[in-house]
């Protein structure tokens, strides 16, 4: 873990060489949700391959570039394409970009994902603001000797998603007449989807949606002191007693359909981040 510090500095320098600004918000775009970059006044677009120590994105419908520019009047960086545990990357590497964003000066991290709905009151295409999370990955990005320059050995997780920001995000959605739920996200390693028995289990342990990302990034954000907003787009309902086979094309189509709602909310969150004191 002690080599992370130098890697962060290396990646940071490579980004600053192309775009020398301090982003207020960092955004990670999930499966099918890349459209948000069309709203950004792009000042620099950096391929992951050109940033030292960034992994390469191999997942379906994930590009692989860091978009830097202005959104709703604020400087942002946005990851178009993210990394997952199921791609075989160690969690430390997956979450390196989060630490780089912190070192660039970002104060708020917006994580988005496409996920399966477990709560029977949700509908496919709905948005959920993540209120809390359960880590069922069987791994943790903070394993190893802790580098005290980056964060504490034992991070507190009593409020991984800042409650004030949960409220603000819900309000932004409500103002635009977008229905946004609030709930618990559980992360599993994947890449297979769950069996019906597993869906029942995940529902029973208290999860409202299930996905294969977001939790590692949120843990590292808490470790390095970023506030986190989590947004899930429910792309298929996982009701164990009426389960249909998952269809990746359909999932991506629903994500694309719901994407304008997500886009609106993220734009609102970024705008508000410019107005409130974050620290």
């Amino acid at each position: 873990m002690l080599d992370l510090y130098d890697k962060i500095q290396g990646a940071r320098a490579a980004i600053l060489a192309q775009w020398n600004h301090k982003p207020r918000v960092a955004i990670v775009l999930g499966t099918g949700l890349g459209g948000l970059v069309n709203d950004i006044e792009i000042e620099a677009s950096i391929e992951y391959g050109d940033i030292p120590h960034f992994p390469k994105s191999t997942a379906t419908s994930h590009r692989g570039r860091l978009v830097c520019g202005k959104l709703n009047g604020e400087y942002v960086v946005a990851m178009e394409g993210r990394f997952h545990m199921y791609e075989g990357y160690p969690l430390k590497q997956i979450t390196l970009p989060i630490r780089v964003f912190k070192s660039l000066g970002a104060e708020l991290l917006v994580l988005s994902n496409a996920c399966g709905g477990l709560n029977p009151y949700f509908r496919s295409g709905d948005i959920m603001v993540i209120e809390d999370q359960i880590n069922m990955l069987g791994d943790n990005p903070l394993i190893g000797i802790n580098d005290d320059r980056l964060g504490p050995r034992f991070p507190d997780m009593s409020e991984p998603y800042d409650q004030q920001w949960v409220d603000r995000t819900i309000q932004i959605a409500r103002d635009a007449r977008i229905e946004a739920h609030k709930g618990v996200f559980v992360a599993v390693a994947g890449p297979n989807l769950e069996t019906r028995a597993e869906y029942r289990f995940l529902r029973q342990i208290g999860a409202d949606v299930v996905g294969m990302s977001t939790v590692p990034e949120a843990i590292v954000a808490i470790h390095c002191g970023l506030k986190v907003v989590g947004l899930s787009v429910i792309t298929d309902m996982c009701l164990p007693d009426a389960l249909r086979a998952a269809n990746v094309e359909e999932i991506i189509a629903i994500a694309n359909e719901a994407e304008p709602k997500l886009r609106h909310i993220v734009r609102g969150v970024v705008g508000e981040a410019g107005q409130v004191r974050l620290a």
Partner: protein, 279 residues
């Protein structure tokens, strides 16, 4: 069977310890947070730094100087680990449990292991002692077992559930608590990988599973001690009580302070159990 190089290390480490004049111990004691003061009570101590012992992981964590201490406690020969290894530091189970192999090789026939743990049972209070009847290991994974397992059969053995308890030692511990007039519960311990503390959603899930205390240690040691045929007494000191519906921020300093306040209880149990004759 452990791998050849581990057997080699074990032989060498045993010779080093014997050459330093350590008597055959009756009890092996692993000091967790809260029991650390016990090290200073050992009569005629022979202290050997971990760095001097082949096979011991070298802890590069800040100022953590581990020692193996032999001597007498309440007149009974013991061997004590002051400082232990955790999986969240990046060690596999083989490295975490190597000291136990050594202590068994030296002749210890029983183990007392202690830890500071988060209380999930709402009936618990900070500073209470929990005598563990069962340990659930959530962090065990074939990749984390290490090179101690060379055959598939060993793998199965190491990965099987842990029946911790020696009824006689458990009764003795409860008797010691009654004698000294403090509360000791009997409960179930869940070992997580850490190093993050739990989210509220995770606490709720663990409660539903019937877990009484949760921590980041003890499971590998208990599993190894049982495999080596040692009798086991495992004790948790409740350092905080999780109240998922009233979020309170976990604080490592508080954990340590609670440990100091409850140290006398653990001390009383160790004194009582240590007097029991060996089997």
């Amino acid at each position: 069977m452990p791998s050849d190089h581990r057997m080699n290390d074990l032989q060498q480490a045993t010779e080093i310890v014997r050459r330093r004049g350590m008597a055959t111990p009756r009890t092996a004691i692993i000091l967790g947070s809260g029991l650390g003061g016990l090290a200073s009570e050992i009569e005629d101590p022979i202290a050997i730094r971990y760095a001097e012992l082949p096979g011991f992981a070298t802890s590069t964590a800040s100022g953590h100087q581990g020692k193996l201490i032999g001597g007498k406690l309440d007149g009974v020969p013991v061997v004590v680990m002051a400082g232990r290894f955790h999986r969240y530091e990046g060690y596999d189970d083989a490295a975490v449990t190597f000291p136990l192999r050594l202590m068994a090789e030296l002749g210890a026939s029983r183990m007392i292991v202690s830890n500071a743990a988060g209380g999930l049972n709402p009936g618990y209070r900070v500073g209470d002692i929990v005598v563990l009847r069962d340990v659930i290991d959530w962090a065990k994974s074939p990749t984390r077992l290490g090179d101690d397992v060379t055959s598939a059969i060993d793998r199965v053995a190491l990965a099987s559930p842990i029946s911790v308890v020696d009824e006689e030692l458990l009764e003795a511990a409860l008797q010691a608590a009654r004698n000294a007039d403090f509360t000791a519960h009997v409960g179930v311990y869940l070992a997580t990988l850490g190093p993050t503390y739990e989210t509220r959603a995770e606490y709720r899930m663990m409660r539903r599973f019937g877990i009484d205390v949760v921590g980041m240690s003890t499971a590998p040691e208990v599993r190894m001690a049982r495999q080596l045929g040692m009798r086991v007494l495992a004790l948790s000191m409740v350092s905080n009580v999780a109240r998922p519906d009233i979020a309170v921020i976990a604080n490592h300093e508080e954990v340590l302070a609670a440990g100091q306040a409850a140290a006398f209880k653990l001390r009383a149990i160790v004194a009582h159990v240590n007097q029991l004759p060996s089997p």
